[in-house]
């Protein structure tokens, strides 16, 4: 069956408010809830809406009931807390707004450094209490993984193993992954919100502390305290609000029946393949129309797969592609000398917010509000959050008019 081209929401729903709690590796005094409130208040003020205007809520781990009560949002007609970030929240809100379940939705996601994430986080006694009531991460999802730890092919361990498989099968060295990390770092140098901004050389990269072979400290997202929030409403209503609307032209989630780490048959069965197929089927835009590209790189190898799956190159050619489009004197990727990649520094340098930062930056670029890193004339963004199994997501966003 060929993928459906049906997309009645095309360009009918827009992101019109952006807000965030600044990304930090050393923040004190914040909770997951307070981070979300920072971002939510900022996003509502940015859009020019108040509590009485918001009638939909969609977030990741912080419960919508908490946010609703904390912000005195009197009445909402739609709310949800899907697990995977950030595409599941955005797609749900687009559907809710377009179907009339609500008019204006507040969407949010936060990251919070758990005590095991770093030494400084471990020193904060209240962060230790923040683990209270959390089940062993994946067993709680009920996907089939009943155990985690050093003997389980799960989470970061499995991404490392898939990275190793990729380098082995297609004959690349670690320097191929290094280009993804250096690209992020170079771009982060122009982003005040990024937690790592100092230049990274290939020599630095190759000398990085090995954590999960072949992934070193530079290949894995940076734990931060942070939150991002988005106000989503109809394009029609968005045009009357305070900011230029960013239109959601097409969106898709993707998953296959090989949805857990070690059971994934091969990279042709990753959820990313489904995302790309459906996204292009639902779109009137083509890859050649894209001005800025945001492939998720919470683990560096994921980005190489996104280059392949969205159609820049074939399976296994992602490594060769980034090298071919590497601009040595800028130390970053410019596809065809024109299209920058992860202009904000991504999860590897801005900070790890599971793709929310990628989406936020894409919106800034399409508003023309990205300051010193603004890409001139950016009018179409391709944003692909998520990895291989249960959280692959894609968005084609465009400037209004």
């Amino acid at each position: 069956m060929s993928p459906s081209r049906r997309n009645p929401a095309r360009d009918q729903v827009a992101i019109v408010g952006l807000g965030r709690s600044p990304y930090g590796r050393d923040r004190v005094g914040c909770t997951p809830g307070s981070l979300v409130l920072d971002a939510a208040i900022a996003a509502a003020r940015d859009a020019g809406v108040g509590a009485a205007d918001i009638d939909g809520l969609c977030g990741s781990t912080v419960a919508t009931a908490y946010v609703q009560a904390a912000l005195g949002i009197g009445r909402v007609s739609w709310f949800a807390n899907p697990a995977s970030v950030i595409g599941n929240q955005i797609v749900a809100a687009v559907a809710a707004v377009h179907s009339g379940m609500c008019e204006t939705a507040l969407v949010y996601h936060n990251a919070y450094r758990m005590p095991f994430a770093s030494r400084s986080a471990g020193r904060d006694p209240m962060r230790r209490r923040a683990m209270l009531g959390l089940a062993e991460t994946r067993s709680a999802w009920g996907t089939g993984h009943a155990e985690s730890g050093a003997n389980s092919m799960f989470g970061a361990n499995a991404y490392a193993a898939w990275a190793g498989r990729y380098l082995h099968d297609y004959g690349y060295g670690r320097d191929t992954l290094g280009l993804v990390a250096i690209n992020s770092r170079t771009n982060a140098g122009r982003n005040d919100n990024a937690v790592y901004r100092d230049p990274l050389t290939m020599q630095d990269y190759l000398a990085g502390r090995m954590v999960r072979d072949p992934l070193s400290v530079y290949d894995m997202d940076i734990p931060v305290d942070a939150a991002d929030a988005f106000i989503i409403t109809t394009t029609e209503r968005a045009r009357d609000l305070a900011q230029p609307p960013v239109l959601i032209h097409a969106a898709s989630l993707g998953s296959t029946d090989y949805g857990i780490e070690e059971q994934l048959l091969d990279l042709n069965h990753a959820g990313q393949v489904v995302v790309a197929e459906r996204l292009w089927a639902k779109s009137e835009l083509e890859l050649a129309d894209v001005d800025v590209f945001y492939p998720y790189e919470g683990f560096s190898n994921i980005a190489l797969s996104w280059f392949e799956n969205v159609g820049y190159c074939g399976r296994g050619e992602g490594g060769a592609f980034v090298r071919q489009h590497w601009v040595e004197d800028q130390q970053r990727i410019l596809i065809d000398g024109r299209i920058p990649v992860n202009t904000h520094g991504g999860s590897l340098s801005e900070g790890g917010t599971q793709g929310a930062g990628h989406l936020y930056e894409a919106c800034l670029q399409l508003r023309g509000a990205a300051g010193i890193r603004q890409v001139p004339g950016a009018s179409v963004a391709l944003v692909t959050p998520g990895g291989y199994y249960f959280n692959s997501q894609g968005f084609l966003l465009r400037r209004d008019g």
Binding site: S139, A150, N151, N157, A161, G164, V211, R212, I260
Partner: protein, 143 residues
């Protein structure tokens, strides 16, 4: 064995009605994997329906325990509680069992220099008893 006894044998593991046979098997040092009575295909982790034909008639069946390394990483960082040597490097693999393409189990490789392990190597299952955690599946080299 009662459900309470089974749960007590695997502290910290999400043992449930769907995967109980797998964990009961480990207590007998056997690896049993769900197999469909109607189409004979295997699946893991254990679920209550055959993903190929939707049959609800499944039999936990012992596997030969031999297979090939299809995913490999070496961990250099982890919790001290894990009891692994992260200085030398702790190997972690996914092994495709000989019974069926895509039928995989994960674990470490015992007694192997991690620097010499390779994708495509042949290994066999070892059921290992871990202090305070209950037995689990790991692997050893076949040659």
């Amino acid at each position: 064995m009662t459900h309470d006894e089974l749960l007590d044998a695997f502290p910290g593991v999400r043992v449930d009605q769907d995967n109980a046979a797998y964990y009961r098997g480990l207590l007998e040092e056997r690896v049993v994997v769900n197999r469909c009575d109607d189409c004979a295909s295997w699946h893991h982790p254990a679920r209550s329906a055959c993903p190929r034909c939707w049959s609800r008639s499944l039999t936990p069946t012992a596997v030969a325990g031999t297979g090939t390394i299809v995913l490999l990483t070496v961990l250099h960082q982890g919790s001290r509680k894990e009891g692994a040597d992260f200085n030398v490097g702790h190997p972690l693999v996914a092994v495709e069992l000989d019974e069926q393409p895509g039928l995989r189990l994960g674990g470490t490789v015992l007694g192997a220099d991690p620097a010499t392990l390779q994708l495509g190597e042949r290994v066999r299952v070892v059921v290992r008893r871990l202090e305070g955690r209950g037995p689990r599946v790991d692997f050893e080299r076949m040659s």
